[in-house]
């Protein structure tokens, strides 16, 4: 269902007016309430008066993850801490974690956009949802929770983990919707078979999967394994958490709720707008947030964008599935490699499930080595060495043709690659650069 027809199907002119009005207010607001933003805006030689419409967005400075980290914990907030209703924290790989604060209004907004997102996925009031994203400082669980409350779903707040119990509750309560990471969804299929449940007979009809990049081939695998519709949810805690964008049943890109989260796609090196349809870094400006509004926040996610109206009737721009991250992208011998590319190759090789890990190493004075570690599944195992060798060779060749970089392939025993029930650890970089 379309949760908010008035906004989601608004004509482009009305939408632009709303965006322009909101941008002006937001710039005024942060200029008054945040010393950091005031300085940033001034450093571009701009004052709030120069911002007359959404077309003036390019005059404004970018905000980066580093800005958030440097202002740890609350210095980038535009609301006094007393007005903050909830705080979320995402762990960083280096230095301080990223802290975001929501006012009551921000939480309401989060519920609204997540309700739109769930509507995109196919949910309608009265459906039951099993939320298997983690609850807590991570935004996944609570974001879905607020959206489900707003829409009027029956919520099973399972959080992540305790897979056998998740499966039992699914089997006994028959929820229609599942929300979790795509890798956890596949992990649950293994567990289901182990306890004698046929994944195809599950009650889940709709899945909203995200929090990590996943490919079209992984979608096919999830849909076939569970006999369900798998759609992609996008979000990041800096902007609000899940609910920034969501795929509708057409699966032709993710509708980004641009009346509140205004998207730009830029060339990550030059900072200039990418050409329509070209890949680039997604940059988002929050247009109505109060706690920690962000101007032109660099998400580090690589997408393309289209403004064509979708056949579902929604007029919002659509971003592609995340094609990679500018930061967990690894550069091997100067070539950009995204874990999602590896996944795609593996899934195209018959029978190989995507349990893999990339190990990048560089021995003193030598070139980078990229090793793809793949778990041997029963389907691909053979008693003959030459067949396993041939499989290694096939993986290697296809990887090399897709990535354009020399690859070593290593077959390992099942369940020897580290699995977490949340995000899968796909890359190990041993290089000391």
């Amino acid at each position: 269902m379309i949760w908010n027809k008035k906004i989601e199907c608004a004509n482009q002119r009305d939408l632009k007016n709303i965006q322009s009005e909101r941008l002006k207010k937001t710039v005024d607001y942060v200029y008054k309430n945040s010393e950091i933003f005031k300085k940033k805006i001034q450093s571009k030689g701009v004052t709030p008066k120069d911002i007359k419409s959404i077309d003036d967005l390019e005059k404004l400075p970018f905000t980066t993850k580093e800005d958030l980290r440097d202002s740890y914990p609350f210095k980038l907030f535009s609301s006094p801490l007393k007005k903050i209703a909830e705080i979320h924290v995402s762990s960083g790989t280096t230095g301080n974690p990223t802290v975001v604060g929501y006012t009551k209004e921000d939480i309401k907004l989060w519920g609204e956009v997540m309700a739109r997102a769930l509507g995109c996925a196919g949910a309608k009031p009265g459906d039951m949802i099993q939320i298997a994203y983690g609850y807590g400082l991570f935004t996944g669980g609570l974001g879905f929770h607020y959206g489900s409350m707003t829409m009027g779903l029956t919520i099973l707040p399972c959080s992540s983990g305790q897979t056998k119990r998740q499966l039992k509750l699914m089997n006994d309560f028959k929820p229609k919707i599942l929300a979790c990471t795509p890798s956890y969804c596949l992990y649950m299929a293994d567990e289901a078979r182990e306890i004698g449940l046929d994944p195809k007979k599950s009650s889940w009809e709709i899945g909203s999967f995200g929090a990590e990049p996943w490919s079209e081939s992984m979608r096919v695998e999830i849909e076939e394994t569970w006999d369900m519709q798998a759609t992609d949810v996008y979000g990041l805690s800096e902007i609000t958490g899940p609910g920034v964008a969501h795929e509708c049943d057409k699966k032709m890109g993710l509708h980004i709720f641009s009346d509140v989260f205004y998207p730009e796609v830029i060339n990550q090196k030059t900072g200039k707008a990418a050409k329509n349809g070209e890949d680039g870094e997604l940059v988002i400006t929050t247009l109505t947030k109060q706690g920690i509004p962000l101007l032109r926040y660099r998400t580090r996610d690589i997408v393309s964008i289209t403004t064509e109206t979708c056949s579902c009737g929604r007029t919002s721009p659509r971003i592609s599935k995340i094609k990679g991250r500018t930061d967990d992208m690894i550069i091997v011998r100067g070539i950009n490699v995204f874990p999602s590319q590896i996944e795609h190759v593996l899934l195209n090789i018959e029978g190989t499930q995507p349990h893999y890990q990339l190990v990048v190493d560089r021995k003193a004075g030598e070139l980078d080595e990229l090793e793809v570690v793949v778990e041997v599944e029963e389907k691909i195992f053979s008693d003959e060495i030459k067949k396993l060798r041939a499989l290694e060779e096939k993986i290697k060749k296809e990887m090399e043709s897709v990535l354009g970089v020399f690859v070593k392939v290593k077959l390992v025993e099942p369940k020897t690659i580290e699995r977490s029930e949340g995000k899968a650890k796909r890359v190990i970089d041993k290089r000391t650069v």
């Binding site: 008693d383 060495i385 077959l411």
Partner: protein, 143 residues
């Protein structure tokens, strides 16, 4: 007349073969014949045991990748030229051997070798035609 071999994928690391063998031992599975095909990084353990179905179940439930393969066990005169005689027949009939290895026990004064053929059914047909004794499952279990 085929017998069943279990093939197990093993990473080439210290103590791995011991772990698998002791797992079978603990479960009272007796290994009758064994060979290992190896590369730098992994190996394939091939074994003939007294209770193959049970053994595979145990291996799988312990997280190993294992499957069953049809192989052929032959009794060969334990004297010079014994093996060559059989290989001659196989070669003349263009039967390809993927790999082969010897049995630990003997049924009589003859040696027992197991063969993994490219085309198992055709190999058995040729062997029978040439009056070579192919050992069956029951005989293996009774060894």
């Amino acid at each position: 007349m085929k017998i069943t071999q279990i093939s197990v994928f093993l990473e080439n690391r210290k103590g791995r073969l011991y772990e698998v063998c002791s797992l079978l031992g603990k479960n009272k599975i007796n290994i009758r014949a064994l060979s290992i095909g190896e590369t730098d990084e992994f190996g394939i353990l091939r074994i003939v045991v007294d209770k193959p179905e049970e053994a595979v179940k145990i291996l799988k439930s312990n997280g190993l990748v294992a499957n069953l393969t049809d192989i052929v066990a032959l009794e060969i005169t334990d004297k010079p030229g014994g093996l060559a005689g059989i290989l001659k027949i196989l070669s003349e009939n263009s039967i390809n051997i993927e790999y082969m290895y010897g049995f630990i026990e003997k049924a009589s004064d003859n040696a027992i070798l197991v063969f993994r053929f490219e085309d198992t059914d055709r190999a058995i047909e040729i062997l029978k035609k040439n009056k070579i004794k192919v050992i069956g499952k029951a005989e293996i279990a009774n060894l």
